[in-house]
Amino acid sequence: MWTICKKELADHFSSTRFLILFCLILMVALVSTYMAAANIRRVLEGVSKPSNVFLLLFTTEGKFFSLVQFIAFFGPLLGIIMGFDAINRERQHRTLAKLVSQPIFRDAVINGKFLAGVITVSIALVSMMLLLTGMGLITVGVVPGWEEIGRLFVYLIVSIAYVSFWLGLAILFSILFRSLATSALAAVALWIFFSFFIGFASDLVADALSPVRNPRDPEEVVPNERLADAVSLVSPAVLYSKATSTILDPYRRSRGSVMIVGLFEKLSMERFQSPLPLDQSILVVWPYLTLLAALTLICFGLSYVIFMRQEIRSA
């Protein structure tokens, strides 16, 4: 497994595809964080330094979007791009038959490739985070507290887990579909569905299962909303966004939908509430993380079952 992992790592880091993607992400991240930093600095002028301001660097929208939104959007693509051709590329180049006729277990092939992907993603995300933190230190001039560093750390782990899910899914598709284009398209289609259409889908399911006849009747509306929320949890995108917003926004109590408040209100609100401590935040997101891990495991289980029994001909 380590041999395969090592080779895949070398492949990732020397592939143009990965380098382009990484530069792109880094560039967007730098720009959006820089704009967020400028924003924060402007608002903070003349105000005594509130706590947890450092996290705002990542959650504040600059001109377009916040860094967190960007990663939530782009992370899956990173996973898909690294995994969609994991197995079928070997099949096309006729190296797969050779690989499985070596004295290694077949699951080592999948594991090695997955592990290499996770390591690559981790290196990419961690180095980006360090760079941005450094930049934030310089531009905003606020030193993050231990708690904030802890939160960023947890955020990184959740993000890596999220990208790993998509990587696992992409590898599954690369086993299922012989053609590179099909597996890439299938993965992207699922990503679009889970990220953008899950809201409609869960509403549809909820309306079908517990219809609302009178929109003013809370007895009907509340269970409908609850059901829609529960259904949307099958989407890893929803799981991820709920988990990260709780982690990075200590003032958030419930796991409910986002309140839209301006930056300044956010800062002043803090005078009336106290932030949720880190361990409590982790407790709140734990179920989400577990679900995310469970979904990844399902992808893996399916990959194993299909790949183990597959007959591999070179022609």
């Binding site: 180049h93 038959a97 050779k98 690989l99 006729s101 070596q102 004295p103 290694i104 022609a315």
Partner: protein, 247 residues
Amino acid sequence: MAAIIQTENLTRRYGQQVAVDGLTLQINEREIFGFLGPNGAGKTTTILMLLGLTEPTSGSARVLGYDPTRDPLEVKRQVGYLCENVGFYDDLTGRENLRFMAELNHLPEARVTEKVEEALRTVGLDGEGDKLVGAYSRGMRQRLGIAELLIKDPKLLILDEPTLGLDPDGTNKMLDLVHSLSRDRGITVMLSSHQLEQVQRICTRVGIMIKGKLVAVGTIEELAKRKLGEGGGMNLEEIYMRYFKEA
């Protein structure tokens, strides 16, 4: 003589179609066994079953004393299998490809370099080891394929159409190489091919498979006596065509 490969009523069905039909075959130590048959006869399927790469529908096989279905790893450790149309990592050099294979075969780090160089020398690629495989010619790729098998010091080589697409000179060199491996290292060889003249040159025994059934097996002399009669000559091509028309 010890049996290296032994199959008993080995059968493989794909839905309705029977790809390999009750194959009973024995291949002994140090033999070069030629596995012949028209396209779609079931040669590749048989080989896949011998390596535990696909499961037989019924029947059993033993390779080097192991059951390939139950013990595929042990079989793969000792058998070098060259699949038809081997592929390589084209963006790596020949040496790097070999290194990767050596590591997959759990060769100790210290022996990898030595083994890789030796394999390159044996197949006559030592001058070209640092070229990207993408730039190799067909003949070089095929020889690199053999080099990859030698890395694990195999007791048995199973070569699926090793001379496919080679020019006459390349074909001869490939066969000479296989012959010398068998002679000098005592490696047993099973090879499938469509080039009967060449097979006749190096094989000690042949088997002819048609539509999943093994219709003939024996030395070329034996088969010639059976089909062409005494003094009928020893042309494998003629023998093969007789069997083919009867089937």
